[in-house]
Every structure is written in C-alpha cells, then in structure tokens.
Amino acid sequence: MSRTDAVTRILFEAFPTAEVRLFYALGYTAIGIFCWGVYVQIRKYRRGTALALEGSLWSRAGGMVAQVFSHRTVNRRDHAAGGAHRLIFYGFVLLFLGTATITLQYDILEPLFGIRFWQGEFYLIFSLVLDIAGIALLVGLVYMMYRRGWLKLPKLDYARTDRALGDPDFLRPEYRREDWAFLWTLVIIGCTGFLLEAARLVWLHARPDVWDTRWWSPVGAAVAQALEAVGLTAHGGAVLRLSLWWFHGLLALTFIALIPFTKVKHIFTSAASLMVRDPKAAQRLTRIPATQETPGVAKITDFTWKQLLNLDACTKCGRCHEACPARAVGAPLSPRDVILSLREFANAALESGSLPPAAELGVHGKSPGQVSMETLWSCRTCMACVEICPVAVEHVPIIVQMRRKLVEDGDMDPLLTKTLQTIHKTGNSFGESKRKRGSWTKSLPFKVKDARKEPVDLLWFVGDYASFDPRNQKVTQIFATLLHEAGVDFGILYDGESNAGNDVRRVGEEGLYEVLAESNIASLAAATFKSIVTTDPHSYNTILNEYPDFGGKYPIQHYTSLLKQLFMDGNLKVTRPLALKTTFHDPCHLGRFNKGYEAPREVLRLLGCQLIDMKRCRDNSFCCGAGGGRIWIPDPVGSEKPAQNRMREAAAIPGLEVYVVSCPKDLTMFEDALKTTGNEGKFVVKELIELVREAVSAPEIPAVPA
C-alpha cells in the first residue's frame, strides 16, 4: 500500500457514541418529516381529477432527464439566471452524490460486505470534485442574491397586476422572505461546509496523510491556512470542527426535512412537471369528458392532478409574467399570478387531512387564492406563457378550463355573448348570411370551384375574417388569383364552411366549438381533395391539432409554406423584386403554436425584401391582442392595446417600410394600431400575400390574333 492509499476521512472521528446515535436519530427524523411532507403533497395532487397520460413513462422520464441536465429551458431568454442555476444545480447534484457515496460505503457496503472504496486516490479526487461543486454552488447562489438584491428585475417583483394596494395578497412579502431564506440557508450550508473542512485540517495538521494531501480540497486548505495564520491552534480546530459539524449537520437535516413544505420542493415538482408535459397543451385543448356534469373548473378539485402539480412546479421565475401581452399593457392578468394564486388556494384547502366542504373550494372570485373573471377574460391564449415556462406549467389550458365555467354561467362581456349567439345562428362571427361566405369570389375573372361539387387538389379553408372582412377580402381575392395563376387546382366549401372554432374553443364555449368542428368536418367529408390550405393561422391550428379528436384528420398547411413551395417549384416567379425594408410579425398560431417561423421569412427573402426582425420575434412574438376571443371583446378605453404596443416596437426600426403580417386578424388589428399610434405614413402594414402580388406579375395573356 502506498502512502496515499490509506487516505480517507474517518466519519464521526472522535465523536462520543451518544452523539453519533443522536445524529442518526435526528437524521431519521428529518427523513421521516420529509416523507410525511411528500405524502401530504401527493395526497394534495390526488385530490384533483384523474388524467391518463399519453406515451410511455420511460420516454417521458428520458425527456425530463434531458431537459433537467441540459438546463435548456432554464437558460432561455435569461442566460445569466440560467448559468447561475446551472452552477447551483450541478453543484447540488455533485454534493448530493458525494453524500450518497459516503452513505453507500459507510452505511451499506462496508457494514454488510466489508467493501471500502472511499479512500486513496478515489477519496482525493472525490475531495477535489466536491470542493469544486461547493464553489459552483456558492457562486451560483451569490449571483442569485445579486440578482434579487441589486438588479431588482421587474419580473421578480411579486406585486400583483390583478390586485390593488391594500388587498391582503397584493404584495406577498412572504414569497420574498422565502426566497431569501432559501438562498441564505444554502449559502450557510455551503460556507460552513468549507469552514468545517478547514477546521478539520487545522485539527489534524499533525497527521501527514491529512495535511500533505490538503490541496486536494483546495478551498478547505486555503481557509485552513488562513485560520492558522490568524492563530487557530490544533485544539481550537478540534473544538471548531465539532461545533461546526453539528451546526452544518443540523442545518442540512432541517433543509431536507423542509423540502416538501417550501419552495425547495421545486426540485421534485418541476422535474415531475417536465415529465408530464403535454407538448400540445395550448394547441390542442381537451374535450369535456362525457361523464363530467358541469363543464370547466369551478372548484380547486376540478383541476386534474397534473394541473395541481403544475401549480407547485412554478418557481416564480417571472418569464411568463414578462412574456404576457395582457400584462404588458396593464391588463389585470399575469400568468404567474394565476398559477401562484391557485397554488395558494390549493395549499390552504388541500393539504389538511380532510377535504373542506365543496362550498369552500370555489376558485372563481376575488378573495385570496381565487381568480377573478376580469383576469381570466384578459387572456389572449397566445401561448407565450406556456411556451417560455422552464418547468412546463401549462397556463392556457388552466385558464380556458376556468373560462368554460364562466361561459356556462354567462359571466362574460355582453358583446362576447352576442358574438357567440351570432356564431351559433349564422356560423360566422360577422352575423352575415351563410350564403354570403363565398361572395368575394363573384368579382374574380375566373370561377372558384365548389369543392363539394367537384374534386380539387387543394381545399382552401377560408375562415371568417378572410371571407367577410372587406379589407381582408381583397387579400383573399389576391391569394385566389395567385393560386389560379400558379395553376393550382383548388376549391372552397362556400356556405358549407363555418367558423373553424379555434377562438370559440379558447373562449371556453366548448359546446359551440363541438357544433362548429362537427359541421366543418361533415362538410369536409363531403368534399374530395388531397390537402387543405388556409390563410388563417387560427383555422390552421384547430384543423391541424384539434379536429383529429373529432375524427377529422387532414394534411393541412398554412399559405406561407404553400407559397414557398410554389416559388421553389417555379409555379410562381418573382418578376419585380421588392427592395423593401420589412419586418415580419409571427402570428401566435403559426409561429409559437406550430413552429412555422421559416416559410414566411423565406418568401420575404425570395421577394428580395430586407428582413429586420423585431426583438420580440419567433417564439417570443408579441400577440396582436386578438386571440382567445379577445377580438370580440372591447379593450378598456384609455389603456394601451397589445397591437399598439407592438406598433411602437416596429416603429423603432429605422427606415422600416413594411410591417408584414400573415394572418387576417393581424391585418385588422395592426392597421388599426398603425393609425391609433400615429405611425400612419411612416410605414405600412401589409399581408405577405400583397407583397407577393407586387413582386409577381400576372402571366401575359396572349393577344387574340387579328
């Protein structure tokens, strides 16, 4: 045996047996409390409704592990916090593995099998790695303190947008206290760990196997030399070591015991939430089970166990708060606060041994823990919150479930009530006659096929706005002309088409959505076509993602990818390149919902346009404010509208000529906002289709021979 082979740390060295026993007793107590806490939390989630997960548990677990270890989601849009969290996470994992290694040897392998491996070179490398892990942990924690204490980021301000000063849950200082307690506890555990290491070195300075190998724990060694420099003796080191040992140990055990009861539980709940993530949570809302008596969520126990878990997964990181367009314009909604409010409600109502009476479980209202209808109706279901949440909290389905209850009770804006009645009566939100749905075709110089009467290659699902809104009708006619010129065999459903229902569903009127979806699926079933195209991202989303649940599965694309294809195949040719300075607005339902970021940009490039993206683009695109049925609900007078907020962002691009949209509702919203923000004349809002028209000349019609 070489000299270093014997090197190890003797656990409980110089401890009276009673103290060792005491420590084990305390350790088991801590674990007992931890287990009890875990039980209470799981019991809480189980008080939600049942939900069967799709897919195998293993692939879900694999996905979760990949997300957690790569820290991809934590890193997004906040690399500093992501980096710091990485340091904390990896530091914590290594330190945990270190402790587990010691336990494995000391409490399992050695007493049972006499196996010893925590010694020699392994021990030295172990020491080094754990010292580095400890430093990583501390650096990460100190950055987080800096972030909270000095940067004072608005997203970390817990003041609520849906409460007023004086409301009991407006400021929520307890969250702030918990954040700091969490950080300080870990910092103290880390620092006392290093001090303890140093005290042991000073105490055992005389032992060459300890002192000569001290630089394998560099932080401990440096601190030890500093302690000796200020006069700490070996005896002093022994006293310090014993007292620090207990302090450090008790603090660590307390920390473990408190995990299930504090924000520390996110290490489990966030991971579990990532594991049960539904990648289509906002794109494909769920049907109301036939067995469910009342639609939507009225009581906290009406949420699924997964949604209750989501509530606990939230780490208050504020990314959703920052991304929310409603919050950005001062509406009484922050997705974070919806989640936190419901979490407070769930913790108060569902953690005790017996379930409170149903009357005390209502989540709608203005009392602490409840969510008001003003908050719920502020949501645009733009999915910005769901998309950015690092721990897979699915806010939009939670909000829509709560809206379903509001709709059932008729608690909504009178104009929205009227619109829903209109859609039920006429099949469109404009209150126009069904017969007029295809009227825009009348002035075209060619006939648009009725796909119900003759087979077509491409079925064009036009949608409400593109069919009835006069401004959008012009775009619709241009698109029809482009298809005609490109030789595409296409047709429409005429009065067989109804509102696709995407926004009706997001309003929470599930019954009406069912009627619309079933009616459109019946019309589609009566037509012969190979695939569907639509200019409306809302229709695109619901047909693509939601109609399959009603038996309607179709290949469908948004027009942007069809145009790209037509250019690629040479069926459309750019004859007049446009040297325009443009920016592109990603529609929520095309971009964030369905990842259609590239096709429109490629078309713009093909047209010769210069594209300057706004800061909020692609997955962080800023909703025009029309989604989730908000286009049917008037915005409060005097407050900024999301579309205006967006126009101001675009106006900051120097020399911008065209703000390009690819969604009928965007055209309506932004042309209005262009005027109301006083940017008219500075740049214009145009449909991508209109730019394509400008760049592509109509084919020459051969002159009739004389």
Binding site: I288, P295, V407, G410, L420, K425, E509, G511, L512
Partner: protein, 266 residues
C-alpha cells in the same frame, strides 16, 4: 307559484330573399329562425323572479306554432324555463294576433299562472297586440311596455315602471294575475351555452291541440281572425342623385329632371 310566458319563434330575412308564390309571405327557405328578442327578456325576467324567490316557482313557456318552433322552446328550457308548451293544429294556419291570443288565453286558463308575460312585440310581424289581446280574452288587468318590475311570486299585486315620452317614468301597481308585455332592456338575458341547449334538447316539449284546449277550428285560423295579410312586397326604391357642375349646369339638369318627371322628355 307559476309564471307563464308567451314566446314566439320569429323569422329574419336572409340575403337575397324571395317572396312566396302567393305573394303573402317570404319563401320559407330564405328565413333564419330564432327566438323573438323580446321574449328573451320576458323569460329572463321570469327566471330572475324564480331565482330570487324563496318558494317554488314554475316558469312555463308557451308558443302557438308548428313543430319547427321547438328549437326556440328548447332554447327557453336551456335558459331556465321549467316546462315548454307548444300548441298547434293545422287549422291555426293563417291566424292573426287576435286568434293567437284566443289560443294563448285558453292555454293560460288551463295553466292558471299567477302572472303572464309576453314580449312587447315580435320582431318579424310587429303587431304588438298578441299579449294585450290575450289579457282581453282572459279579462285580466294588463300593461304594455314594462321596463322594470317588482314582483314576488304569489303577491296580490305587482309594481312596475313604464317609460313615457320626454324622459318620464310611470310607476304602476297592478292586481295579479295580470298580463305584462316586457320591453327590451328590462334586464340582461343570460347566455344559453350550447351545452345547456344540447341538454335541453333531451327535455320534452308538451304539445297540445285545439281539442285539448276545448277550442273549435272556427275560433282559430283565418276564420277566427279579424284581419288577414293581403300581400307582402318590396316597395319601389326612391332614388337620389347629386347634381354637379356650376349653377347654370345644375339648373339645366334640374329642369331636365322636372321635365322627365312630367313626362315631357319623350
């Protein structure tokens, strides 16, 4: 306690409608049918009274119409009516509001409600007489165009307000049972979710015939009516044009038009 509400499924014109061959109505396929808007308010008023009442209150809707009106009746059931009653007999075809009122009065006698509501008018025919005529047949006190109401089910009397010209409000106390025709805006009708409409589709609509109400065929239809629709038509549109140019040109054009009207142009 019981409140009876007379309702009607009205027709609205679709785009490009055509007049029926006999010239007395619009061709049915160009009509979009829905519950009369006023009835939405009278039903809501009754449901609100029911919800505010401590004792049991039955809200019953009644319509004199063929089977197609079941849709409107089911909508009433979805919005909170307890029972729906439809009275029809082919002999009722061509009934004027008075004949309809005779049938409604017979139904009211059978139901014996504490209060009867009707809309001020129907949006398609706008006679505004069915409700009041029903009161006449019943010999009950009545009031038209009620814009707010204080009524507790079972009370001997009710107090309501009517809006008069010039911003005046008239407060009236009326003996019950009475017939009130309800004005728009008296309340905010609730939204009937499609789910509740679908659920209401499973609820029965009670159908009654002439015989059930002890009426004879001669008392309804054209023979029981005091008026009949002769024809329905779209009047010739007047026209306007803006005359442009200087004063002399305008005068010249004006003179031309006058001559054209007098028939001198030819």
């Amino acid at each position: 306690m019981k409140i009876l509400i007379a309702v009607k499924q009205v027709a609205a014109l679709d785009e490009d409608f055509e007049i029926r061959e006999d010239g007395r109505d619009v061709e049915a396929e160009f009509l979009i049918r829905d519950l009369n808007e006023w009835d939405d308010y009278s039903l809501e008023e009754a449901v609100k009274i029911k919800e505010a009442s401590s004792g049991p209150v039955e809200v019953v809707v009644v319509s004199v119409a063929p089977e197609e009106a079941d849709e409107a009746l089911r909508k009433c059931l979805a919005k909170g009516a307890d029972r729906a009653l439809r009275i029809w007999d082919d002999a009722m075809e061509g009934s004027d509001p008075i004949a309809i009122a005779r049938v409604l009065a017979a139904a009211a006698k059978a139901e014996a409600p504490d209060m009867l509501f009707a809309g001020v008018q129907s949006s398609d025919q706008t006679f505004a007489s069915t409700g009041i005529a029903t009161a006449a047949f019943l010999g009950w006190p009545h009031a038209a165009v009620v814009s707010s109401l204080d009524y507790a089910p079972g009370a001997k009397s009710a107090v309501f307000r009517r809006e008069l010209e010039g911003g005046l409000l008239q407060e009236v106390e009326i003996q019950c049972p009475a017939v009130l025709t309800i004005q728009l805006g008296i309340n905010t009708p609730r939204y009937a979710s499609l789910r509740s409409i679908k659920q209401a589709a499973a609820k029965p609509v009670e159908v009654k015939t002439l015989a059930d109400l002890k009426l004879s065929a001669g008392e309804v239809g054209e023979s029981g009516s005091h008026s009949r629709i002769r024809r329905m038509y779209i009047p010739d549109k007047g026209q306007a044009q803006l005359i442009e140019g200087d004063a002399a040109a305008k005068a010249r054009r004006l003179a031309e038009i006058i001559r054209e009207f007098k028939g001198d142009a030819a």
